[in-house]
């Protein structure tokens, strides 16, 4: 019970602090694609893979006082900053969740900007297609983001780098 909540908290604890809901969404999606056992359902939305379940889960964790959310005004819109609270750390002590290499991956992703993570998650969403088809999808569906061929190549390399970190050691 509450295991899925605990996993999200574990990911946040591993990252330290995550700035931006979009970034949080993409990081969990990428982690899920790396075979970390997150079960939130993601659909393709305007800005790439998005999970309403994850949004609700994070809201619940904030309401329970396990996550600290700071709303900041940034230009014409708001941005949210998330950290684990002390109560959250105590809650997490009730669970023995083993996700080897999660910390390395979350920290690495946290160092990337959300625009790049949006591209990485989009590439992963279409990874069943050939590289050429993926590029076509990115250019078509993300035309406003103006991603370049070079950025797409970097996204592929980054995915390889993360997969190398995880190797075959992720367990459910």
């Amino acid at each position: 019970m509450f295991t899925e909540h605990a996993k999200v908290m574990k990911a946040l604890a591993a990252a330290g602090e995550i700035v931006g809901r979009k970034k949080l969404q993409k990081m969990i999606y990428i982690a899920k694609k790396l075979q970390f056992p997150f079960y939130e359902k993601f659909d393709f939305h305007f800005y790439g893979p998005y999970s309403e379940e994850l949004t609700c889960r994070v809201e619940e964790l904030c309401n329970l006082g396990f996550l600290h959310e700071v709303k900041e005004k940034k230009g014409g819109y708001f941005q949210y900053r998330y950290t684990l609270t002390e109560a959250g750390e105590q809650f997490l002590n009730h669970y023995d969740i083993k996700m080897p290499h999660l910390q390395e991956c979350m920290q690495d992703m946290n160092e990337q900007n959300s625009r790049f993570l949006e591209l990485v998650s989009t590439v992963l969403y279409f990874e069943h297609l050939t590289k050429e088809e993926v590029k076509e999808k990115v250019f078509l569906l993300k035309s406003k983001q103006r991603y370049t061929e070079e950025e797409i190549e970097q996204a592929y390399m980054y995915i390889e780098k993360l997969r190398a970190k995880v190797k075959n050691e992720v367990h459910a």
């Binding site: 019970m1 509450f2 899925e4 909540h5 931006g20 809901r21 979009k22 969404q25 079960y39 359902k41 659909d43 393709f44 939305h45 305007f46 800005y47 998005y50 309403e52 379940e53 949004t55 609700c56 889960r57 809201e59 619940e60 904030c62 309401n63 329970l64 014409g76 819109y77 708001f78 941005q79 949210y80 109560a87 105590q90 809650f91 009730h94 959300s114 949006e118 279409f126 999808k137 078509l140 569906l141």
Partner: protein
């Protein structure tokens, strides 16, 4: 057979309690409705276990799918036609995607998806693209037409305006299910002025926007969505039925894995238990089949399976208490788990926490830039403004988070003092404390 002209010689209509009439003029739509995969939706209830709380909620995904189609047809034919940004050559694609958007839903699909780790949207894609009657009808339009329909439903079609009609924060899907679910459950708060919303919808390059003058109609829609979420979709009794249903599926799977000899063999479930569900197996399963098994399993030798099935079939549901997983409550939960075991009541099946995030519904949130596309109002000067920045009402309800967790348990077992009296008294003390 192609679709020369594509129109029926005479318009067909379906009488509908929500939209009064559903009009079909395109032959491809008429043929899709007649396919066996679409007809299967008659045997899948739109609201799953809600009929155990609101007895009128027996409507099917078939009704809803026709409703979504009709809303899209009205938007396109009555409001969008001839307007800037709207490409009328996308009309048939929109209508087909609207009609087929829920095609992959299975029986009690929310529980099934959780237990068997499947996704109905994958099956929607598989039906549209696979060797099916639906695919054969769509291919008569053009070879790449099934792929386009599948892309619109998967939200990966390049024309984002088309996608937003079927799937966005104010789309035809949501408008139909709110009105339809309100009608069939008999509640009054799900209603809003859809006709007005349709009249003030305007196509933009990437999405549908709403004229500022229609803001109050949209406020009603947002309120309706909020009320339906808490009063109907997240009703604690419905969740109790859902919890039991989920536990039945878990138990049957576990027994199968342990080699238990079922009196009624779960033939229709084998591929689900094995995690290898092919399309043909999936399409054979509907609610009539599931309820047949539950009926039969009431007499199984396994006490847990038979008890859970009796509870579901006879609406003998679990009771609940509020539960917030604070440190103190978590300690109590650990204690309860141990007391349940001591009382001979397996906590794996009879002590369950259910959270609002376990539900496949949402209410409106403006969110943060780049998170999810919000509803935009088209101001008289041509500027776009996010809804909650203009509407005090929407700002008030979308700014306040509300979540909910409940702990479910079988009260009849706990209050039966014929066995383990002392342990059960302790359980009650904790639950009532």
């Amino acid at each position: 057979m192609a679709y020369p002209g594509g129109q029926l010689s005479e318009e067909k209509v379906f009488k509908d309690p929500v939209h009064r009439y559903i009009h079909v003029r395109d032959k491809v739509i008429w043929d899709l409705i007649g396919t066996k995969e679409f007809q299967r939706l008659r045997r899948i209830k739109q609201l799953g276990t809600t009929y155990l709380t609101f007895h009128g909620a027996e409507h099917s995904r078939f009704n809803h799918s026709l409703g979504v189609y009709e809303i899209i047809r009205r938007i396109i034919d009555d409001v969008f036609v001839g307007r800037e940004h709207w490409d009328h050559s996308e009309r048939l694609l929109c209508l087909c995607a609207a009609l087929l958007h829920d095609l992959g839903h299975g029986p009690f699909s929310h529980s099934f998806e959780k237990v068997f780790r499947i996704d109905h949207e994958d099956f929607t894609q598989a039906i549209i693209l696979g060797d099916t009657e639906v695919n054969a009808v769509l291919r008569r339009v053009s070879d790449d037409f099934p792929k386009k329909v599948a892309e619109v439903i998967a939200k990966t079609y390049p024309n984002k305006l088309v996608v937003s009609l079927i799937s966005s924060q104010i789309d035809a899907d949501r408008m139909d299910y709110l009105l339809r679910d309100a009608y069939y459950t008999g509640v009054s708060y799900g209603n809003f002025d859809m006709e007005r919303i349709l009249r003030v919808m305007r196509p933009r390059e990437d999405q549908v926007v709403i004229k500022r003058s229609g803001m109050h109609a949209v406020e009603d829609y947002i309120m309706s969505r909020y009320q339906m979420y808490w009063q109907v979709y997240f009703h604690p009794v419905t969740r109790s039925a859902e919890v039991i249903l989920t536990k039945i599926l878990h138990r049957a799977k576990k027994l199968y894995e342990e080699g238990y000899n079922f009196q009624t063999k779960p033939i229709h479930f084998y591929s689900f238990f094995a995690g290898k569900v092919d399309l043909q197996d999936y399409l054979k399963l509907d609610e009539a089949v599931i309820l047949f098994y539950f009926q039969q399993w009431q007499d199984e030798r396994d006490e847990i399976l038979s008890d859970l099935c009796r509870r579901f079939v006879n609406r003998h549901l679990f009771k609940y208490v509020e539960f917030n997983p604070t440190n103190e409550q978590m300690t109590k939960l650990i204690e309860l788990t141990s007391l349940f075991k001591k009382a001979g009541i397996d906590p794996e099946y009879y002590l369950v926490v259910d959270s609002s995030s376990d539900l496949p519904y949402d209410f409106y949130r403006p969110g943060e830039e780049g998170e999810r596309l919000p509803i935009y109002l088209l101001m008289p000067n041509g500027e776009l403004r996010e809804l909650s920045r203009e509407s005090v009402l929407v700002d008030a309800i979308s700014g306040k988070r509300r979540t909910d967790h409940k702990l479910y348990f079988p009260a009849d077992f706990i209050y039966d003092f014929s066995t383990k009296r002392t342990t059960k008294k302790k359980i009650i003390e904790i639950l009532e404390g």
